[in-house]
Amino acid sequence: MPGDTGGSGCYHGAVSLDPAPRRLRAFVAGACALALLTGAAWLHAQARRAEARQAWPAQRAIVRATGLPDLALSSTARWLRHPTQVEPAAAVQDTPGGIDTDPAGALLGPPFGSPAGLGPLP
């Protein structure tokens, strides 16, 4: 049975050759490092939440004053700037045959810049 080696050296024999304490130490060190990192992440998360709570009055003041709760994520596409306010078909107004009704969700956006005199980007 494991642990019943009775000093045969398999697990706790010659001190200098027994790899068990070394392995345990390495394992415990690794586990402690992970635990410390987890603790640090938790503390960081608490700090970020507190910061977010402090930002609420400013964010709510701007939404109260404008009445527009939409996020300023896709400011370049007019019909995605206020997705809650646009007309129901707006998402496909430029590409009626497009299967992606939300083309802002792309890893690469279209090239910025419009030819002079042609006005805004679609």
Binding site: M1, P2, G3, D4, Y11, P19, A20, R23, L24, F27, G30, L34, L37, A41, H44, A45, R48, R49, E51, A52, Q54, A55, A58, Q59, R60, A61, I62, V63, R64, A65, T66, G67, L68, P69, L71, A72, L73, S75, T76, A77, R78, L80, R81, H82, P83, T84, Q85, E87, D102, A104, G105, A106, L107, L108, P110, F112, G113, S114, G119, L121
Partner: protein, 393 residues
């Protein structure tokens, strides 16, 4: 205790003997889970920003539809709506977009009436006073992204093209807090007269009407009544606002997460192969252990410890990676996929809002199968006759 320690040490030794494979597997679990969790953390954090302000948004928004598109609405419709029972107030809103060629971006121009709620909590510098003086440029409050892009400070001048293409000179009265960038990074707040000139909206007409109700739960009934009284109108209630964002972010986050699914599946397959396919040496090892007196439960316990150490280590490392990637590095790459591209991008400092239960479920869905696949073949090998295993049977 000695027995448990011995089993534990044996399992660690076993891990150390297969060190490279164990580390590769733990890192694979960490990477696959980390990328998947990143999409989850990022989408949840953004939802929290949106939901945090939803409760102060108007209960109902009334637009006028002409030819299926929103059109300007006569401000005198306001009186009819104010008379409806259950309506606390109706506010005409004047807002729209202005393309500024100099920065190749659309800015949102919003008129702030003199009786609007206090803007001072949102102010970073300058004054919130927007009343146009008798002479000189009209004052404007700038969102943080515009101010940063044009390097403007309170007191500076800003020329914006009006609806006719003529440049209109404004004075930067103040700048909005960076904390408001999530909602107003690209916004210019001005007085009503200034907004009318910039957007080309004639007097007596507004963009839409914002209604606040005495009891928000009456919204569906009052929305139906508004639609009956104003036949060409479209009424948006708060539930529709929330649904729009849920659809957008759930759709985008789901798509991004789906991209990582093949990676997660490949990893699980690799882990299955690693854990389930006991090699000849591992079978012999189990045979030796059985021959020297180990029981089936001892073999299984050692195997369980081994697989738990690898998978839980990988899972925890993956979640930490996801956290650091999203909240310390700002999720470069992934943010573009989830938020969309933008000329005036808001500088967001997102806060984690994913619950521990969600993370535990995700971790369990990955770790559970991995641990399970490690036990079955070990149990099969442990049930064999040691003599047969050692003789290569």
């Amino acid at each position: 205790m000695r027995r448990a320690r011995a089993l534990f040490v044996y399992a660690l030794g076993s891990l150390a003997r297969r060190g490279r494979r164990s580390v590769a597997l733990a890192l694979g679990v960490a990477l696959a889970l980390g990328l998947y969790a990143s999409a989850l953390l990022l989408a949840d954090a953004l939802r929290a920003v949106y939901r945090g302000t939803l409760e102060v948004a108007p209960d109902l928004t009334v637009q006028r539809l002409v030819a299926g598109r929103p059109a300007l609405i006569a401000a005198d419709a306001l009186g009819e709506l104010e008379a409806l029972p259950g309506v606390r107030s109706v506010r005409p809103r004047l807002w729209g977009y202005l393309f500024v060629e100099a920065i190749e971006a659309n800015v949102v121009v919003v008129a702030v009436p003199s009786d609007a709620p206090d803007l001072r909590p949102a102010l970073a510098a300058g004054s919130a006073e927007l009343r146009a003086p008798a002479e000189g440029p009209a004052p404007a409050l700038l969102g943080s992204a515009i101010a940063a892009r044009l390097a403007l400070a309170p007191g500076d001048g800003l020329a914006l093209p009006d609806a006719t293409g003529e440049l209109m000179l404004l004075r930067v009265a103040g700048m909005l807090e960076r904390a408001t960038a999530s909602h107003a990074a690209d916004t210019v707040l001005v007085a009503e007269t200034t907004a009318r000139r910039l957007l080309g909206v004639p007097a007596g007409e507004v963009t839409d009407l914002a209604i606040t109700l005495a009891a928000p739960e009456e919204a569906p009934v009052i929305a139906a009544e508004v639609a009956r009284r104003l036949p060409m109108s479209r009424v948006i209630d708060r539930v529709a606002l929330e649904r729009s964002y849920a659809l957008t972010f759930d759709g985008r986050a789901g798509l991004v997460a789906a991209l990582f699914l093949p990676m997660l599946a490949a990893l699980l397959l690799m882990a299955w192969d690693r854990f389930s396919g006991l090699g000849e040496s591992e079978r012999r090892e189990i045979g030796v252990l059985k021959a020297v007196g180990w029981g089936t439960s001892d073999v299984l316990t050692a195997r369980l410890v081994e697989s738990l150490a690898v998978t839980l280590g990988g899972v925890l490392l993956g979640l930490l990676f996801a956290y650091g990637y999203v909240f310390l590095l700002g999720a470069p790459g992934l943010q573009g996929a989830l938020f969309g591209w933008s000329t005036l991008s808001p500088a967001l400092r997102l806060a984690p809002s994913t619950s521990l239960a969600q993370l535990a479920t995700l971790a369990g869905l990955v770790a559970g199968p991995l641990v399970a696949v490690a036990l079955v073949p070990a149990w099969r090998a442990a049930m064999l006759d040691p003599d047969e295993v050692l003789r290569g049977g």
